[in-house]
Symmetry: C2
Subunit: 121 residues, 2 copies
């Protein structure tokens, strides 16, 4: 199972992170997502991280890379489902995922992407 599934819901792709990420898996996910954005003309990517007890710099970089790639392909990335303890630690460490938007849960993330999409040219 060395591939993280990417689910499509309308214009949005959803990825749930629930296994320990390592280099190869992160690269695979980045490649798969870029390919799926192209194939589906997705306008947004939701990264659901409620299963993560820790967001370290490796995960942070992966999210930033996915977000930058998606942005170039005209899709918005929103990180959803962050545990309160993770949010507290990120702020304490002054790591605030620059350039990446967050929302409380999948539904709010979907709404955020749709809202922005409505105001785009």
């Amino acid at each position: 199972m060395e591939r993280i599934p990417i689910l499509q819901m309308g214009d949005v792709l959803l990825v749930t992170i629930q296994v320990d990420m390592h280099d190869q898996l992160a690269l695979q996910l980045q490649d798969d997502l870029a390919e799926r954005i192209r194939a589906t003309s997705a306008r947004g990517v939701l990264i659901e991280i409620s299963a993560l007890d820790i967001v370290d710099s490796f995960i942070g970089r992966m999210i930033a890379t996915i977000s930058a790639q998606a942005s170039i392909m005209d899709a918005r990335t929103v990180v959803v489902g962050m545990q309160p303890a993770v949010a507290i630690t990120l702020v304490e460490l002054n790591l605030t995922l620059p350039g990446v938007r967050t929302a409380l849960n999948v539904e709010r993330g979907m709404r955020l992407i749709q809202l922005e999409d409505d105001t785009r040219p």
Copy 2:
């Protein structure tokens, strides 16, 4: 990360299976799902299994149990994203997940649940 995240989308709960299931994890998922169905008044449960290369009798039983529990709590269960090879093997082995509905992907599964919900009293 010994807990499979349950995502809520409207009236539907979504579970993506992407790690090897074992007894404890399966029991935890069953408990969590029952609790979340009650807490959210969900009308449906989507179990996404595109990451699974094999659906053995253990997974089959887990899906059947979740489906039965959800049904008692007035929620429908749909299995989505099954790989073609898995479908072929299930039919060859004459294991056709009795009592469990399937749909091609998350979107069709959502539609199936909503469609049935519209026709319920």
